[in-house]
Chain length 164, copies 2
């Protein structure tokens, strides 16, 4: 086991102030606007990003503590192995979201379709590239089945919030 | 700025022993097989993952050191802002790859379409879910244009390897 330390490069500001009643993924957060405040020392690295319609944000799930290997995700009433879910409580609390990029001005990115908690520390921004990132043929196990049964309005509840 | 520390949860074993002449993304690594060795204490978390055709691996780019905000990526002969590229030298050296999942036996995942360096420390495994992760409508700026000009056989070279 190797310890790996990173330093946040900015902060994600969103309307989601609480971990309850949040959209559980970007697609169920359709139209929700937010912003990324990149630390100004990195602004130069944003050049040419505006020509992309979507970006992948990688961030630290800063309110997530601990984990269980067997979890009942928001999308189901049965348990699954942790790595077969997108549950936020994980050995390493790293989140990824693909969001719409609306504009960039200096060090501020205006984004849309945001399922991220307010104040989340940003670790990286990567351009979304269809040829690298889309897998139109993907089969998604229990999630495919549950998605057909439920609608996309599922929200988070208290289940991954620890009282610590 | 906030320091965030993670601990690797396993190791990715691949045929790519050197940072030169590597496929630059999973789609140009078509058919290349590799394995993920999850630390056995996490094996239980893999339950139900085998029903997914693809997984997203999040890992530490352990050979990457330092970064420039202005970079010339493998796909172009002009420079772009770092965050408009997938170059491996970044403020936080976090890599993500969507790979095919072929099988799981105990703590070992057999995977395919792998663009990852041998010995890479694993940080997280997430199931790829079409509804969350595909963006068929995405527009990808300079990358779309270059992809049309070049073929998918582009390989890495020495440009992001520091001598340290």
């Amino acid at each position: 086991m190797l310890e790996i330390c990173y330093t946040s490069i900015g902060t994600i500001h969103t309307p989601h102030k609480s971990r309850e009643n949040m959209p559980i993924q970007p697609l169920s957060a359709s139209g929700i606007k937010a912003s990324v405040e990149l630390d100004p020392e990195y602004s130069k690295g944003l050049r040419d990003l505006e020509s992309f319609s979507h970006v992948i944000l990688i961030y630290h799930l800063h309110k997530s503590e601990g984990f269980d290997l067997d979890v009942m995700p928001f999308m189901d009433t049965k348990t699954h192995g942790l790595f077969a879910t997108r549950a936020p409580r994980r050995p390493n609390a790293i989140g990824i979201s693909t969001v719409k990029l609306n504009s960039i001005k200096e060090n501020i990115l205006q984004i849309e379709d945001v399922d991220i908690l307010d104040g989340t520390p940003l670790l990286d921004i990567k351009p979304f590239f269809s040829k690298f990132d889309n897998r139109s043929e993907a089969v998604s196990g229990w999630l495919d089945k549950k998605w057909q049964e439920k609608n996309r309005e599922i929200k988070s509840d208290k289940r991954f919030i620890t009282s610590k």
